[in-house]
């Protein structure tokens, strides 16, 4: 599903303003969202997920204007720090979303977690919770997927698992991944959006960004770092 964001704005009570943001998420493509802390990445993701209501602008899904309620129905979202309702087991959460969990999928998940699915997520490690969150987010093949800081605090194997899951899902969905991780992002993303002070500062493929800033970096991470530095210099 194609997501078109036009002149999107969101005003926070503290005075922080997100936007206007215009961006395009394409199916079959992973878009990376980068920016310093406080840039508005999480806010943008929550607006796109329908959890926050924009104060101006449009979000279109396959060309049709989508309000927060349609976004909540359509867009899957994994927050930075996945939190779940107390006294709900992993199995309950899947039942709520899918009506049940097929045995092979359930067994595979239980094996990955090393715990039965009757475990409460609060009793899992952060990495295990992120895994549950990601599996829940991917459940039912969402056409649009937003993942906020998926690698933060995960061990290397769990990080690879996240990469693999995103790569697998890419064929079926438009994906936006927010992260500070300049190592993992280029491995999974085709396009990059730099957000700073609530606005899009730079956008494009790695090659386009490198050309735009005259980046001399020899690898993807250094190109992204150059763009990041340039962004902070231009808009301190």
């Amino acid at each position: 599903m194609e997501v078109l964001v036009e002149s999107l704005e969101y005003r926070l009570r503290g005075g922080f303003v997100l936007g206007p943001v215009t961006m395009h998420l394409r199916p079959g493509e992973v878009t990376a969202l980068l920016g310093p802390n406080g840039a508005g990445k999480t806010t943008l993701m929550r607006v796109l997920a329908g959890l926050l209501f924009p104060t101006a602008g449009d979000i279109r899904l396959d060309g049709h204007a989508a309000g927060p309620h349609r976004l909540r129905k359509t867009v899957a979202y994994t927050p930075t720090e996945p939190r779940f309702l107390p006294r709900a087991t992993v199995e309950d959460l899947f039942r709520l979303r899918l009506g049940g969990l097929e045995k092979p999928t359930g067994s595979a998940l239980a094996e990955k977690l090393g715990r039965p699915l009757t475990t409460y997520p609060a009793r899992l490690s952060r990495g295990q919770r992120m895994l549950v969150a990601l599996e829940l987010t991917l459940a039912g093949d969402p056409p649009v997927l937003l993942v906020d800081e998926p690698w933060s605090g995960l061990d290397p194997l769990a990080q690879d698992e996240v990469l693999e899951r995103l790569e697998t899902q890419r064929e079926r969905a438009a994906i936006l991944v927010s992260s500070h991780d300049l190592f993992h992002l280029p491995r999974v993303a085709q396009r990059f959006i730099f957000l700073h002070r609530g606005r899009v500062h730079a956008e494009g493929t790695l090659g386009e960004l490198a050309a735009a800033v005259g980046a001399s970096g020899e690898n993807a991470a250094s190109v992204l770092r150059d763009v990041w530095k340039r962004m902070l210099e231009e808009t301190p």
Binding site: L12, F16, N37, G38, A39, G40, K41, T42, T43, R46, A49, G50, L51, L52, F53, P68, H69, R72, K73, T74, V75, A76, Y77, P79, T80, E81, P82, R83, F84, L85, P86, R87, A88, D92, L93, R95, L96, R97, G99, A133, L136, A139, G140, P142
Partner: protein
């Protein structure tokens, strides 16, 4: 339906609630069987049980980001509130049933039970509305406080403040507001309201859908900001 089962399972794992509800239900049943003359006194707890269950800590859940995985590609927030309302009403209703079972079977207190059912529904709707702003404990405290205030008004407040009986004009206006909006003790239990028209006892049946509609509307408008915005 899925969200109702989900919420029921979660509630069933709340040990404190299950223990208290079991004691109340058992006490109601025993009293109802041993003293079949009138409803068990424990029936007075039914609206409080309903308001607490229906409130369900929605406000804290929302603030803590715990609803993110519920409302994205899952049930809607109004759906969740409706489920919590139904659970609250069900819990209050089972306590009411346990308290009046032997009477209703004999064809007694049927009207009383139906009036009470409306009152329990009204308080469940209040829980579903207020629970979006304050904790379940605070919602319960509010119900207890407003009921105590209504009783005080009936017993002494009207005379102390206005020098009138609660049924006299204009004290009756305050009485009506306190009784029908703030009091979880049913109309039929308060003999000093006997002078008011009897149909008013059915008012909670009218108020409950109105308050529930407000709860659903508030849930539809509810935004879910993260604890930490980045």
């Amino acid at each position: 339906m899925r969200v109702l089962v989900f919420e029921a399972r979660r509630l069933g794992r709340e040990a404190g609630f299950v223990g208290l509800a079991a004691v109340l239900h058992l006490a109601s049943l025993i009293q109802s069987i041993l003293d079949g003359g009138e409803p068990a006194g424990t029936v007075l707890f039914a609206p409080f049980l309903a308001v607490w269950v229906a409130a369900g800590d929605t406000a804290a859940n929302a603030r803590g980001g715990r609803l993110d995985f519920v409302v994205t590609r899952g049930p809607t927030l109004p759906g969740l509130q409706l489920a919590r309302f139904l659970l609250g009403w069900s819990c209050g209703t089972t306590l009411l049933a346990a308290s009046t079972l032997t009477l209703v079977v004999r064809g007694q207190y049927l009207e009383y039970s139906l009036e009470y059912l409306g009152l329990v529904g009204y308080w469940a709707a209040v829980g579903a509305l207020l629970g979006q702003r304050v904790s379940a404990a605070a919602t319960l405290l509010l119900a207890v406080t407003s009921s105590a205030l209504a009783l005080w008004w009936h017993g002494a407040g009207a005379m102390l403040l206005l020098g009138q009986l609660p049924g006299d004009w204009p004290a009756v206006l305050v009485t009506a507001v306190l009784q029908f909006i703030g009091c979880a003790i049913p109309f039929g239990r308060l003999s000093w309201l006997a002078s008011l028209p009897a149909f008013l006892a059915w008012l909670p049946w009218l108020l409950a859908p109105v308050v529930l509609a407000l709860a659903v509307k508030a849930a539809r408008r509810r935004q879910l900001p993260a604890q930490e915005e980045g």
